[in-house]
Each structure stands twice: as structure tokens, then as C-alpha cells.
């Protein structure tokens, strides 16, 4: 459903968009999310995933979230099996090409326990972008003729009044909350990400609220010295949380590659045991640890060290 323009504007207009510090704890930040909210996650697949935020969302037992993301990897399994969401909007859903098709995703979708709403990667991107631009749709030349089109409620076709071309009208997507992870963000919420931008910028502009977890909190002075690097301005952000290694076991560009051993361990468990395996993982790595730091300390430091050396290696070339 495309949300009414006036409603979208009122939410933004009623927010305090003044320059103010927004640094808070992970727990505090995630309480900004309500049951039933549509939560969009930044990054793509197993890169720059806001994993710490998702981990905390599951711990806070949020219910009936709509979850959308460019491409969903293992975090999608966790959200399904934990009962956090029954509705995932994405373009591709599995841990990764070399790991096969997620058995958890298959279980929940094939048994109709959850809906996987499938859009092409670009059309999902255009949905966030239309939402970010304050328009109800963007025309495009994809999805046409496919069987994806008729399965979607909100997509339409039109004949272009200028050219007569047949176009797909891709509807705006405006999540209630965006959760993003970045390498650099100041206390006000000015985000300066490194490397692959994915869809984060559009997601932030399309959402009512934005929660940013960051590898480090940099000074506003640094931001102002390189305003070219800012991708999300402070007034779009509601919470800033400092979470080093906040994407593990996924990667964060130029900071660390995935913890492939932990990924292999998870995927093996999930593929062998199905949802039961994921429940076992949730119990051990999400519900039991006292904090995100406690979770990190359960990982093998040698693996993290290697992932870090590989990750920051992009600056060694």
C-alpha cells in the first residue's frame, strides 16, 4: 500500500529535526520500533547488515514486523524463525550462492507460515527511491511480462503519455523504521559510509525513523571537513549507536570480511536441522548472551582477526 503523502509529511514535520546529539544504547534505540512496524534494513545480502540491531530486535521480542531488504541472507532466517516477522519483502532470500537455498525460508514460505513478497532488485530499489523523493511511484521497464508482476498487489502498468511506451509503475515504499550500519557517523547522525553504498541512502530518506549503528562515532568537525562523503544528513536520523563489529558474522566494507567459519557453522546447522537448528542457534547466540559484546566474545578471535585483516585489506592494495 502506497502511504498517503500528507500522512508521510506530517510524520517528518512533527519530528525534532534540529541539530542535537542522538547517541544512545542499542537497547534504547531499538525501543523506537513498535510491533507491526515495517522495518527496512540497510546493506545487502551479507554485507553491511545491521546485525546488532536485528539481534536486539529479536531479543526485544518485536512482533508482526514487516521486514524489507535489498537481498536477505541469514538474518532473514533468524527473523522468521524467531517469530519477529511473517512478511519479508526482498529480491533474493538465502544465505549465499555457495550455501544453497535456505531451508528455513523454504519451511516458512512453503508451509505458508510467512509471506515472501518478491520484487526484482531494481524495482525494490526504485520503491525506496520513490519513497525517498516524496512521489507515489517511479516508472520503469522491468517486471513487465514476468509472473512476478501479477502476484503483486501494488504494481501497475501504464502507457506513457509522451512516448506511448508500456511502462511498469513501481510504487513507493516508506518503511516506519530504517536500520542501517555504517563505518562512520557523528553524534548528530551525519553518516559517512565507505565503499558499496547499496540502498542505504534511499532507505533513510524513505523511512519515518532512522536508527544508525556505527563502527565508530566521529566528530562533526571531521564531517564538515569532507562534506562530499556524507550520504545521510543528521536530520534524517533518530538514533546513533556505537557498535564496533556490528555486522558480524556478516561483513562491513574495509572493516572486516564475514566470519566465514561462523557462517559455515550456522548454515550447516540450518540446512541439517531446518527451523529447529535455527532455534538452537537463536537460543545459544541471541537469547543467552547478556549483551552484543557477550555475543562477540563467543566468536573465535582468530577468525575475527583474519576477517579484519582481509576486510581492511582493501586499503593495502
Amino acid at each position: 500500500m502506497v502511504r498517503p503523502y500528507k500522512e508521510l509529511r506530517e510524520v517528518i514535520e512533527n519530528k525534532d529535526r534540529g541539530l542535537r546529539e542522538k547517541v544512545m544504547s542499542l537497547t534504547e534505540a531499538i525501543t523506537l520500533i513498535q510491533d507491526g512496524d515495517h522495518v527496512a534494513a540497510g546493506g545487502c545480502h551479507y554485507s553491511r547488515t545491521p546485525m546488532a540491531a536485528i539481534w536486539e530486535i529479536i531479543r526485544q521480542k518485536k512482533k508482526n514486523l514487516i521486514y524489507s531488504r535489498s537481498i536477505s541472507s541469514t538474518e532473514g532466517d533468524l527473523l522468521l524463525v524467531s517469530g519477529t516477522t511473517k512478511h519479508v519483502i526482498t529480491s533474493w532470500f538465502s544465505p549465499g550462492v555457495t550455501w544453497g537455498v535456505s531451508r528455513a525460508m523454504r519451511h516458512y514460505t512453503q508451509k505458508k507460515l510467512a509471506l515472501y513478497e518478491e520484487w526484482s532488485h531494481m524495482s525494490l530499489g526504485l520503491r525506496y527511491r520513490a519513497g525517498a523523493m516524496g512521489i507515489p511511484f517511479i516508472p520503469a521497464r522491468v517486471m513487465l511480462g514476468s509472473d512476478l508482476f501479477p502476484r503483486l498487489e501494488d504494481i501497475q502498468e501504464m502507457e506513457c503519455p509522451f512516448t506511448g511506451d508500456k511502462l511498469a509503475l513501481i510504487p513507493a515504499l516508506n518503511p516506519e523504521v530504517a536500520i542501517l550500519h555504517t563505518q562512520r557517523c557523528d553524534a548528530y547522525g551525519n553518516v559517512q559510509s565507505e565503499g558499496l553504498p547499496f540502498m542505504d541512502e534511499d532507505i533513510a530518506r524513505s523511512a519515518d525513523k532512522v536508527i544508525v549503528t556505527t563502527e565508530r562515532i566521529i566528530s562533526n568537525d571531521q564531517v564538515r571537513r569532507q562534506p562530499d562523503l556524507t550520504s545521510i544528513p543528521f536530520f534524517q536520523v533518530d538514533a546513533v549507536v556505537e557498535v564496533p563489529y556490528g555486522c558480524l558474522p556478516h561483513e562491513c566494507y574495509a572493516a572486516y570480511e564475514p566470519d566465514f567459519n561462523h557462517m559455515d557453522y550456522y548454515v550447516k546447522l540450518m540446512m541439517n536441522e531446518g527451523p529447529e537448528g535455527v532455534k538452537e542457534y537463536l537460543e545459544r547466540y541471541v537469547y543467552t548472551p547478556g549483551s552484543w559484546e557477550d555475543f562477540l566474545s563467543m566468536l573465535d578471535f582468530k577468525d575475527i582477526l583474519r576477517a579484519t585483516m582481509e576486510g581492511r585489506g582493501v586499503y593495502n592494495d
Partner: protein
């Protein structure tokens, strides 16, 4: 000297790489397409520019660190530019991309691909991961290439679900649907190279790989494939191609022999 043996996946990777012309721009999917693109660069196409869905233009992939996904930092190594996913995909809509290079789980006689559902979409036997950028690439890139293993269960008369448009129902149905640019250009399998009839848009045999026969193709194809009178043979993989390919994928993560 004796010839090095190769498996069917290696054959497909090498034959695919040969299709990619130097100086062109290819939008590569994960897995085998990626391997073939890098192989082509190391062979005849050093000026081939690779675009990845993750949002990178012209990366230098480290042969010893092939990215398992095209949406991660290994896939972005030493690129000319990184950009948002939506924008790198939009470059195809603008017409900058020569080849859209995909793998496929299931293809039909009109080149439509399915990566969403095996069986009835409302009660699927298998829910597959989905389109990712495949629908976009196949709707927008100038020439679509598909690399896959040639099996009857994969080469079906009509796919269970059109995730990724080929020529839809054939004839001019693709254009009628609004897809007025591009189209599926070639299918590369371990048996040969396959194109599409200009008029009916049905799949036809373009060439066979050494050792493959028309009968084997017919036997492994779940629909009536068009057979021209003259069928050229492709050149066998060279020692150099095999050597480089195995440097790129020493553990055969992307080129292991397919079990049927």
C-alpha cells in the same frame, strides 16, 4: 603430451568466457558467470568491463579471493567506481550494458528463466531464492547470456514461473509486453551453444561442443529444439584456459562436476 581432462562445469565456464568480446561491458551474476568474466579478462578480453549488482564498475577481482556473492567487498576490489545498487542496475536501463550474464535453474523453449518456484507457485515443491537482479538484467541488458548444465529437468517446454523474461510466449510477445530493448542472445551449456529463431523466438542449436551429438541434445531437452542443417563444432578447451580457470577456482566451488 596428453590433454588435460575437464568436467562439464569447466567446459561451460570456458565456452561462456569465449563469448564475451573485448571492450564490451558485462553485467555479471554470482557463481559461474563471474568466473567466466574473469577468465575472459585473463584470456582474450583484457578490456572487458565487469559490472556487479552490488554496485561496482570495473573491479579487479583477486584470483585467490573469488567473491561468493556480487554484493560484497571482494567483488568491489579496485573498481573504478562504487555506486548504489539501484543506480548500477539503472545503467542497463539507459543502455550502457552489452551483456547480461546469468546462470539458470530452469529455462524454456523461449528462453524464459525461473528462479522463484519449482512446481505450482501457490503450492511450490521448492521455493527458490528469487530473482535478485535477474529480472532486471534480462529486461534491460542488450544481449542476455545464460550459462547452465544441460538436463531435461532444466530445459522444459514452459517454465513453472517466469521470473526472468526471455521471449515470453515467443514471436513479438516480449516487445508487446513493453520490453522493447534487449533479449536473450545465447544459452551456453555443456553440450553446445544455443540461440533463438529470429521469427518464432524458439531455441535452436548454434554449435555443438566436441563429443556432443544432436541426439544427446534432443534427449536432454524437454521441448522440440530447432535443428539447422549445418551445425559447427566449437574448439576444445585449451590447456591455457583450463590452467587459468583452475587458478581462479582451485577448490572448484563454482566449477565442480554437476551430479545429476
Amino acid at each position: 603430451m596428453t590433454k588435460t581432462a575437464y568436467n562439464t562445469a569447466e567446459l561451460v565456464a570456458i565456452m561462456s568466457a569465449r563469448v564475451l568480446e573485448d571492450g564490451k561491458i558485462v553485467f555479471g551474476g554470482a557463481g559461474m558467470p563471474l568466473i567466466s568474466c574473469v577468465l575472459a579478462q585473463k584470456m582474450h578480453a583484457p578490456r572487458l568491463t565487469i559490472l556487479f549488482e552490488g554496485g561496482v564498475i570495473g573491479p579487479h577481482i583477486d584470483p585467490h579471493k573469488m567473491p561468493p556473492s556480487t554484493n560484497e567487498q571482494r567483488a568491489a576490489r579496485r573498481g573504478h567506481m562504487v555506486l548504489p545498487i539501484t543506480d548500477v542496475l539503472l545503467l542497463q536501463q539507459r543502455g550502457y550494458v552489452d551483456y547480461g550474464f546469468l546462470g539458470g535453474a530452469q529455462i524454456d523453449q523461449y528462453g524464459n528463466l525461473n528462479s522463484s518456484y519449482i512446481g505450482d507457485p501457490d503450492n511450490p515443491k521448492v521455493r527458490l531464492p528469487g530473482t535478485g537482479g535477474a529480472n532486471d538484467i534480462a529486461s534491460l541488458a542488450t544481449k542476455i547470456l545464460v550459462a547452465m548444465h544441460h538436463e531435461k529437468r532444466r530445459f522444459v517446454e514452459a517454465v513453472d514461473f517466469i521470473t526472468t523474461p526471455g521471449y515470453l510466449q515467443g514471436g513479438d510477445s516480449r516487445e508487446q509486453a513493453g520490453l522493447i530493448a534487449g533479449g536473450i542472445h545465447q544459452v551456453i551449456t555443456h553440450l553446445g551453444l544455443f540461440g533463438f529463431d529470429p521469427k518464432s523466438k524458439r531455441m535452436l542449436i548454434q554449435a555443438l561442443h566436441p563429443g556432443a551429438t544432436v541426439d544427446e541434445v534432443k534427449e536432454r531437452t524437454g521441448f522440440e529444439i530447432m535443428i539447422p542443417d549445418e551445425i559447427p563444432l566449437t574448439e576444445e578447451p585449451t590447456e591455457e584456459e583450463l590452467r587459468i580457470l583452475r587458478e581462479l577456482d582451485p577448490e572448484q566451488r563454482y566449477t565442480k562436476a554437476v551430479e545429476e
